[in-house]
């Protein structure tokens, strides 16, 4: 075991442990102790250097005497000091009881437990003092005050292709150019034109004739489609007027027209 070093940081000053262990010599100010365990430890260290050999009974008596003297001085005592006093008074009476009347847990175990706690607190206090006494940075050892510092400069290598560049430009232009809608004049056959044409042609057709046969020949594509559509609508109109009959065998089948049979409309 490392020797028990006196722990006396300047900020804390209970009576120096080297003085005679008379309780009333301890400065009667409870600000000095961090709770009853701390006070007990101070008392214990006045009693013995080796905490493993202290007498808990003697320590208990010292503590109780100390609390008593504080009471006589009418000092305000924090509740935990009184709780500890009560507990120690109980421990003391148990320790003095005849053996067979001992309660459970045994007073010896309680005393031992207190002793172990004091040892542990003392050990940590000692460790703290030794830790603080080490060569500490900024107090005993110094790093450079203004190190230049190491720099890891991440240098970006930007990637971009010419295609990406001109594509980007194209997209800006496309995005920002005003959109102009020009409606082209398309080559169409008007409905009137179609009605006239179908009406005149169907008169000559006695038999069922396909709709396409009524279209003008050699039309180019857009006009041909327009003519087909107009002629179909024209046929419907003429049929409505009762001037021709329309027949189709099924959906998407060819459409046939003929001049309306007098008196009959079915076809």
């Amino acid at each position: 075991m490392a020797e028990w070093q006196d722990y006396a940081p300047s900020s804390v000053s209970p009576a120096p442990p080297s003085q005679a262990p008379r309780p009333d010599m301890l400065t009667v100010s409870f600000d000095h102790w961090e709770g009853p365990l701390d006070l007990l430890l101070t008392l214990a260290r006045n009693q013995k250097v080796d905490l493993r050999e202290i007498s808990i009974l003697a320590l208990t008596e010292q503590y109780l005497a100390f609390i008593d003297s504080a009471r006589q001085l009418k000092l305000e005592l924090a509740a935990d000091y009184l709780v500890m006093a009560a507990w120690l008074a109980y421990l003391k009476s148990s320790l003095l009881l005849p053996r067979q009347e001992q309660p459970d847990p045994s007073p010896e175990e309680l005393a031992l437990r207190l002793q172990l706690r004091l040892q542990r607190l003392h050990a940590m206090r000692d460790a703290a003092a030794r830790l603080m006494a080490r060569d500490r940075i900024g107090r005993d050892v110094f790093p450079r005050r203004k190190p230049e510092g190491l720099r890891l400069v991440r240098k970006a290598q930007w990637k971009a292709s010419l295609y990406g560049l001109i594509q980007a430009y194209g997209q800006i232009r496309a995005r920002t150019q005003p959109v102009v809608h020009t409606i082209a004049v398309r080559p169409v056959m008007t409905l009137d034109e179609a009605i006239q044409r179908v009406a005149s042609l169907v008169g000559a057709a006695i038999d069922w004739t396909r709709l396409e046969a009524f279209l003008p020949a050699d039309l180019d594509q857009p006009k041909a489609r327009s003519a087909l559509a107009s002629s179909f609508v024209a046929a419907l109109e003429l049929a409505r007027q009762g001037r021709l009959d329309i027949q189709q065998d099924g959906i998407f089948e060819p459409i046939y027209l003929r001049a309306a049979a007098p008196g009959g409309t079915q076809g």
Partner: protein, 197 residues
């Protein structure tokens, strides 16, 4: 040959090590006292550190430690990172290339969206864009142009090599349908990539 460093030398060494700035012998003495020959000690120290990674040097009567000049690359290590130019940066670059010299306001007018602060910085850092003076109009805005590095990076001998609008149209790069399609396939037509510039 090698003598054990004495305490005076060790003190001088330590004092110079922690110093925030180069120190004159007078200032050093305030720390290390008069227990030794300071000038001689400084010379011994300078000799000791001469071939090392850190040197003790005198500049204008003041002494300080510094890293050996040939090790500068160690202290400032550059690491190349391949990074793709953001769309915002690419568009800004394209506008500068096609319209240079242009001001930021003009770039914004052409792009139809604001140019984030970092976007131009990235292009300048990449070495492709340079400030090219100021436009003599109210506010005297900075104007930007492309650099020689820009031409060499994109394999152009001059800006005239950039395809014109007609070329772009012929290549389908001005086709709004493509643009719409790209938007549909999620290839970022929306201007949410400003911050990554």
């Amino acid at each position: 040959m090698i003598q054990e460093p004495d305490d005076f030398l060790r003190a001088v060494e330590a004092a110079l090590f922690v110093a925030e700035a180069p120190m004159t012998p007078v200032a050093l003495k305030l720390h290390v006292g008069d227990a030794g020959d300071l000038d001689a000690t400084l010379r011994v120290l300078a000799d000791h550190y001469a071939g090392r990674g850190v040197n003790l040097v005198e500049r204008g009567g003041r002494w300080h430690f510094q890293t050996a000049p040939d090790l500068a690359h160690i202290l400032r290590r550059e690491k190349d990172e391949q990074r793709k130019l953001s769309r915002a940066a690419m568009e800004t670059l394209a506008i500068i290339a096609y319209h240079e010299p242009v001001s930021r306001a003009e770039i914004e007018a052409i792009r139809g969206v604001q140019v984030a602060k970092g976007t131009l910085d990235v292009l300048i850092e990449a070495g492709w864009v340079r400030p090219a003076g100021r436009r003599e109009v109210p506010g005297r805005p900075l104007i930007y142009a492309t650099s020689v590095e820009f031409l060499s990076h994109f394999g152009l001998s001059s800006r005239r090599d950039l395809p014109g609008l007609e070329d772009l149209r012929a290549a389908g790069l001005l086709d709004p349908v493509d643009l719409a399609l790209e938007g549909l396939t999620g290839q970022s037509v929306v201007e949410n990539d400003e911050e990554e510039a």
